[in-house]
Amino acid sequence: MVSQQTPVLEMVNVAKAFGGVQALNGAELALYSGEIHALLGENGAGKSTLLKALAGVHRIDSGSIHLNGRDFEQGSTRTSREQGVAVIYQEPNLFPDLTLAENVFAGRQPQKANQVDWSGMRREAKNLFDQLGVKLDPSAFAQGLSIADQQIVEIAKALSTKATVIVMDEPTAALSSKEVDRLFKVSRNLAAQGCAVVFVSHRLDEVFALCDRITVMRDGATVGTAPTAELTEAKVIKLMVGREISELYPKQPAKLGDVVLRVDNLGLAGQFADINFELRSGEILALAGLVGAGRSEVVRAIFGIDKYDSGSVTLNGKKLKAGNPALSMNAGIALVPEDRRQQGLFMPTSIDKNSAVTMLKRISRFFLVSSRSEKKLASKWGEILQLKYSSGSDPVDRLSGGNQQKVVLAKWLATDPKVLIIDEPTRGIDVGTKSEVHRLISQNAQEGMAIIMVSSELPEVMGMADRILVMREGRLVGEFSRSEATAEKIIAVATGASIS
């Protein structure tokens, strides 16, 4: 079906940096009309950044983009759409209070004598749904629509604007298998009508079932493009991970002690199920998997932020009460959350106050908190963690990302936890601070702390962990010891690929 004319979209040698981080460097993507094209890569390989450049969210630093034979004008999401690019996000952005017909035509409703032509609009929406081969009622309201149906509405919108390139960013992540089948049918319909469809997915079986060609990205660059028929899942995985594990991770061997934490049959409806593992003192256990596999949900439940429905968490032989973070904290669990700006810190508040906030009970007298003892505590931990700051009374949002992360670590290490849970320990921080954070984690493990690390970065997982648990779609699907883990094996289990 792929016509060998000139590509409808050509992105050549695209580069883009955020601050000091080079997100794209040498990224390429060529699409032909009528094809379904998979864009693959690990978390952080640059897929999203490349597609966001196309969607008009980011501007590229260098490189060229041609669309429909013309220079692509970079501006806003609006200019992108006007040039024929439509992006279907994993979580579509609909108007819940409007009908599906209006959702498709919002802002450009069909008119008759300058009035909104309601029946014409419903008819046209119905036509679009029919073209896509789905049964949706144009006069139903968008509120309460399943994610799968919301995506269809977005696709109908794209079709009605005569989009030539339709990007689907991980559309299947929240769909059931029946819904995935329907989306495949719709995608093939789109391609048959001459659209170029970009399909981003971590599920390799889907990619191989659906796509005509595959482009693989790694570390911001395109490392290969080939027709699907010429590739195997094993080859694709090799392309995705083919890099050396650098010596960034100074993990020191630590002596494993007794079991500290036991998680039995933990489950939360719709989030995760049958989670079982043990954690020993001195051990670093990594929870690996794709973004959205349910890892953060599991650690949140263990710490008590969310209440699990079944199973139990046992700390030093005593069962923990579900859904009570204060008790978990007193029992000796600490959680460094994944989003430090939203969940980890009080951004406008001082470094001193942020560092001491977990210790208020211990440093207060007669219910009054003395700021002198806050300061003492903060400067003690600032020294241990080599925090770079000018004054403890500065608000934390003046610090760099890496130093902010150190403040979050400080406030939890100050509680002297038996189990430290760190969700994405080094997301968005520079390389230098990264290795300091790793050294800290390793050092605490050596001193007997038990550590659970959730990380989406494979090198970090393989460099730091004694043991690796892999999650997919809310379940534990693999376990590797440090010596048997390879990037290929972990990716294969995390994506559900079948390699021998």
């Binding site: 609909l94 919002a106 802002g107 199920a273």
Partner: protein, 326 residues
Amino acid sequence: MKQILQRALRVRELPISVFLVLVVLATGSTNHAFFTLSSLQDVLLGVGIIATLAVAQTLVIVMKHIDLSVGSTIGLTAYILGASSSWGHDIWWGLGVSLSVGLIVGALNGFMVAYLKLPSLVVTLATLYIVRGVFNEIAGGDTITEDRVPRAINFLGLNRFYGIPLIFLIAIALMLLVGFVMRRLRAGRDLYAIGSNLQAAELAGIPVARRIFGAFLATGAISGLAGVLLLARFNAADANSGAGLELNVVAACVVGGVAIAGGVGTVYGAVIGAVLLQTITLALGALGVAQFWQLTVNGILLISAISLDRYLSSRVKATTIMGSSK
């Protein structure tokens, strides 16, 4: 069957209309005088002003905004209309000034909310005070009495058309006009889109700032002209006229199903809400209930209205990472 029920629940004017009928029947069966023509006329006469302002308020509430300045504006223009003859001007001058005052207040509100992106609650609370302050300076201790009210306006307050008070008819005409705009014109639909999902509205290429500005401008203009109704109804005006009306207006909208969270509700609902609140006031009077209880009942009604909203919108299917059909 389930779908029909869901559709019916979606017609947000339905539960409150049913409730209105129940209130009338219950009160009437206890006190037959409540069924008379004159008490119906009392309701309609009293409700005209709130209904008019509620229609205007609907324009901003569906966008998830609010306009608290309307009480000050309507009071000021009622006074100006009454004072215009003693200042040596005719009624047309008074109407022109009233419209201008409304447009200026509306433009100020709209500019600050749409372009400076300030929260409408605070902006319009500020203009409520500012306009009331200017009003006090202009009016001082002066009171407009019946003899100073222009003839035409006086006529409006006293007369009926087939038994229906003219003030109420004006409110109905405005309701139909604004109802048409909000249902039939793209600009009107845009207001719903903005209130339903601001980000998506921007992505859909809707001129969000222009629409917000336009809606505040229209609300201001209607409130300015509504000074006519206030003066017609009470045949009097002073520096306190219209004070506190804004809250009754918001209450009427919310009770009538115009969600404060934006995106839903119609001017028809807002007017029914106004009628319901007015009816309850009179019904409690007819039943011999002390007047202060009326406020308590209004409060309970408000909470019921938003609870119903909450219930209806909380039944959105949750989708999860383990797939939605488990």
